[in-house]
């Protein structure tokens, strides 16, 4: 395998092109590594250990008091960014804000059911449920391709 690196100041963002003869294990691991590098945020375990979190594996992010937590299917990590920063960073990565304190991964949503007060109840892939506040129902509908009327 040969590696070419070219600097081009005209580019708006870094581009990675992989040329291959056959899509073998080596190429696949290369693709996975590239995908992984653009799909990570830093999380912290309870003991303070650093843990890179794959964005697509995060079910939802929630701000509790002054901290932001990332909920995976079975683990929870503390994240040092604010919810606003994460909202910006994860825009276009299938995440949408559903209340003042939470952002959900649309791909983690298995089913939606109505909740009292014109809210929505999202049933996630790990069996948890999370509420879309009335004020954010329109944003959620827009994010999944519906018209944004609440």
């Amino acid at each position: 395998m040969r590696l070419f690196l070219k600097e081009n100041s005209d580019l708006k963002e870094t581009e990675v092109e992989i040329r291959y003869k056959i899509l073998d294990e080596e190429v696949e691991s290369l693709i996975a590594a590239v995908k992984d590098s653009r799909d990570k945020i830093l999380g912290y375990k309870d003991n303070g250990d650093l843990a890179p979190l794959t964005v697509s594996k995060i079910l939802y992010l929630e701000a509790v008091d002054r901290y932001v937590f990332a909920y995976m299917s079975s683990e929870v990590y503390k994240v040092r960014q604010t919810l606003y920063e994460l909202e910006d960073e994860l825009r276009g990565k299938h995440f949408v804000r559903i209340s003042k304190s939470s952002i959900v991964n649309i791909n983690a949503v298995k089913r939606i059911s109505p909740d009292a007060g014109r809210r929505l109840r999202l049933h996630l892939s790990n069996g948890e449920t999370i509420i879309v506040s009335r004020g954010y129902v329109g944003d959620f509908k827009t994010a999944i391709g519906m018209k944004g009327d609440a």
Binding site: S56, A108, I112, S113, P114, R121, I144
Partner: protein, 153 residues
């Protein structure tokens, strides 16, 4: 029992009840001023008692509605199960402002309340369910359009 969630429910319920209590007092004051009558202490005391009861009943409703058990049940079910709490609040309100309640009224009002409440809940739920079914369809379309992210998380 989740102590934190209970305190949160009590706080929210207190805020809601306080708003409604303030609004009721203003309404009483305005109507009495228009009628040119005198405000008696029991006119303030009765609403105060009703809203004190309401704080605890509403907190209990919030606590139960937010429980893990209720989270995977249709909200209409939890609302109907919690109907007695709404009924107590309504009856306390009616009794507090009406001194001439007969036994027949005490039987009639709860029946009317329960029928009206159930019908309103069913209609509301049918409308909400129809809307959420449309959103579910859109969600399924979304998952189909983004198969690269469609893998099981």
């Amino acid at each position: 029992m989740d102590k934190e969630r209970l305190i949160k429910a009590l706080k929210r319920s207190f805020l809601i009840s306080t708003c409604f209590f303030a609004l009721t007092i203003v309404l009483i004051a305005v109507s009495i001023a228009i009628a040119g009558e005198v405000i008696y202490p029991d006119m303030i005391l009765r609403p105060l008692l009703v809203f004190t009861v309401f704080i605890f009943i509403n907190a209990a409703r919030m606590y139960l509605a937010g429980s893990k058990w209720a989270s995977d049940k249709p909200y209409i079910l939890t609302n109907i199960l919690l109907m007695p709490l709404y009924l107590i609040t309504t009856m306390a309100g009616i009794c507090a402002f009406n001194d001439q309640m007969s036994v027949a009224d005490l039987i009639r009002f709860p029946i009317i309340f329960m029928i009206a409440f159930t019908i309103a809940q069913v209609i509301r739920y049918i409308i909400d369910k129809r809307k959420s079914d449309e959103i579910n369809d859109a969600l399924n379309e979304y998952h189909k359009e983004h198969p690269e992210y469609g893998e099981e998380i």
